[in-house]
């Protein structure tokens, strides 16, 4: 710089290093994540882990307590609990995820239609949702099941999916109602965007976070519903192995005091459910975090 003037007296300020987002993963439920991953992994590769055929009735070894051959013992019909846990988990989790998929799709479509509808139709649709919400879910599932008359995996997952969409529909509807008058949606409509284009490109990104949380919770609820139904004898039959149908043998197990038949499947169920729940809660916390004023 040899051009007459020389600038002096500038204090050299070191260029600020970008501040690392501190504590981004602080308090994240790692334990829940890994446990869930472990269980999912085991269920996916159950044919490699399971040492025995879960459907084989070993009548010589009924109600054997856990030992080296039967790691978790056998049930009252002589089936190996260790293999049943992994195979049954596959069925239970599949029902949970598939039922949630069904309910989420129904909920989003119903909510968007209701949100875009004229006021009277919207009020009518929301009344229907409220009426359905006020009936205990279990009752509706039992009824749907009675009508379809099917007690296999597909029947159950459809019955559960049909009862869990109401919450999502409500959230989606209120979001859509808020957004549909906003400038960018109107602009998109003026430029000729169709219903599904507006839904996909402008509305969905706005309600993904809140729907995500509810969907995660719905997985939990669906797994829970399946196990409760199967336990009460209106869900899957004993021959179809799932965590719920394994527990339906519990009444017999109580008589013989065979604790492993009750404790082990229930423990797996509870751990899975609480892992899913804590992941869901973490998700919600991330979505709306604000500082306390107090």
């Amino acid at each position: 710089m040899k051009d007459g003037f020389e600038v002096v007296g500038i204090r050299e300020t070191p260029r600020e290093a970008p501040v690392k987002q501190a504590g981004r993963y602080k308090g994240a439920p790692f334990a829940a994540f890994f446990l869930l991953f472990f269980i999912l992994f085991g269920c996916l590769f159950c044919h490699l882990i399971g040492t025995k055929d879960p459907a084989y009735l070993d009548l010589k070894n009924c109600s054997v307590p856990p030992n080296r051959e039967f790691l978790f013992g056998t049930d009252t019909m002589g089936r190996d609990l260790f293999s049943m846990i992994w195979y049954g988990g596959r069925v239970s989790l599949f029902i949970g995820i598939a039922a949630t998929f069904v309910s989420t799709v129904i909920g989003i479509i119903f909510g968007t239609v209701s949100g875009n509808a004229p006021a009277w139709a919207d009020a009518l649709l929301m009344r229907i949702v409220e009426l359905l919400l006020s009936v205990p879910n279990l009752l509706i599932v039992i009824m749907i099941q009675a009508v379809t008359g099917r007690s296999d995996v597909t029947g159950i997952l459809i019955a559960i999916g049909l009862t869990e969409w109401m919450g999502i529909a409500k959230v989606v509807r209120s979001e859509v109602r808020k957004l549909r008058k906003s400038e960018y949606v109107i602009a998109s409509k003026c430029m000729g965007g169709g219903f599904f284009h507006v839904l996909w490109a402008h509305l969905v990104p706005n309600f993904v976070p809140s729907v995500m949380f509810m969907a995660v919770m719905n997985i939990r609820n669906a797994v829970l519903a399946e196990s409760t139904l199967s336990f009460m004898g209106v869900g899957l039959p004993v021959e179809t192995v799932s965590w719920g149908s394994m527990l339906s043998l519990a009444e017999k197990a109580l008589l013989t005091n065979s604790w492993w038949i009750i404790l082990i499947p229930g423990l797996f169920l509870t751990v899975t459910l609480s892992c899913i729940a804590s992941l869901g809660n973490e998700l919600r916390k991330r979505i709306n975090r604000r500082q306390s004023l107090l």
Binding site: I142, M143, V147, G149, M166, S174, A277, S292, L294
Partner: protein
């Protein structure tokens, strides 16, 4: 003028109530009739399978099952409006009599459970909100998440396994010792386990709600003002935040009745507690139509009444909200 307004308001709510009950009764009637199953099985028991075709026809005619569903429904509705709900196929007596014998048990279990949950949840919620992210708060939240994830029926089974099968401290089923149904201590002993399950399952969810509601209030601007006026923390929390949080909590508890009711039904079934839960499970299973109808309408009426009441409470206590959705902040978490 004011009085007239109130009457219109009340009339509207009552109409909504009766309309919902009517729809519910149509819904349940058709579904239960269309579902596969043989109602004669519950009337004649094992003998039903040996009935000849002619006897069958005669029996169906006697019970009025041979006509179309719509005709049956109209006849049922006519009788029901006169207060005659028919006879139970299984117990062979008036449906109302059957229910009268059982409803007390359910009310005791559900009612005491509800009150306990209501009080304890408020306490726990305040305790957690008082020290947000403190040790107690974090422990309670963690424990609560895990406990509320335990399936009701499994918790009941585990408690039975521990306390009745192995320790032999508490009875595993029934509502009172045989022959001594009025024995007070016996009844309490039979209540402990089912009540524990109901409270443990629901407490955390409501405690968590009140905690979050309070934390939300603490982030409102008026707290800053109150603080700058020099009020201390206790005063702000109890006199300002809690007061704003309680109306929505009360209306939420009204909405929660069906969940607690549903939970009671499952718990009753596991403990074979002679209440409405076991009764409705039996009647749905064995096609005891008349009984099932009345039970569904009873619980439906309670549920619908509670949700209307919740709305009314919300509108009255907090006129700002108008038609704001009560459950919106509650992230409907049900089963």
């Amino acid at each position: 003028m004011k009085r007239y307004d109130f009457l219109v308001y009340f009339g509207k709510k009552a109409m909504l109530f009766f309309l919902s009950i009517f729809l519910l009764s149509v819904f349940v009637f058709y579904i239960s009739r269309l579902a596969p199953g043989d109602p004669l099985l519950s009337y004649y028991g094992e003998r039903a399978e040996r009935l000849g075709p002619q006897e069958r026809e005669w029996a169906e005619k006697r019970l009025g099952l041979n006509e179309s569903v719509t005709v049956q429904y109209v006849r049922w509705l006519k009788n029901a409006l006169r207060g005659d709900f028919g006879i139970s196929y299984k117990y062979k007596m008036e449906v109302t009599e059957v229910i009268k014998g059982r409803i007390g048990n359910t009310l005791i279990l559900g009612g005491s459970g509800f009150l306990l949950i209501f009080g304890l949840a408020l306490l726990t919620g305040i305790l957690c909100a008082w020290r947000e992210d403190g040790i107690l708060d974090r422990i309670l939240c963690k424990v609560g998440t895990v406990v509320s994830c335990i399936p009701e029926f499994w918790l009941s089974l585990v408690l039975i396994l521990i306390f009745s099968v192995n320790l032999r401290w508490l009875p595993s089923s029934g509502a009172g010792a045989a022959g001594a149904a009025d024995d007070f201590c016996g009844r309490i002993r039979h209540l402990i386990l089912p009540l524990t399950v109901i409270v443990a399952e629901h407490l955390w969810y409501y405690a968590y709600l009140i905690r979050n509601r309070l934390l939300e209030e603490m982030r409102a601007d008026y707290v800053l003002l109150a603080k700058s006026k020099g009020l201390n923390k206790r005063r702000i929390l109890f006199a300002h935040c809690l007061r704003n949080a309680v109306p929505s909590y009360i209306s939420l508890m009204a909405v929660s009745v069906p969940h607690i009711l549903g939970g009671t039904y499952i718990v009753e079934t596991v403990f074979s507690y002679p209440g409405l839960g076991t009764l409705s499970y039996e009647s749905a299973r064995y096609k005891d139509y008349n009984l099932l109808m009345l039970l569904c309408i009873l619980s439906g009426a309670l549920v619908i009444f509670c949700s209307i009441a919740a709305k009314a409470i919300n509108e009255r206590m907090d006129p700002r909200t108008g038609n704001r959705n009560i459950a919106a902040g509650a992230e409907v978490q049900r089963r």
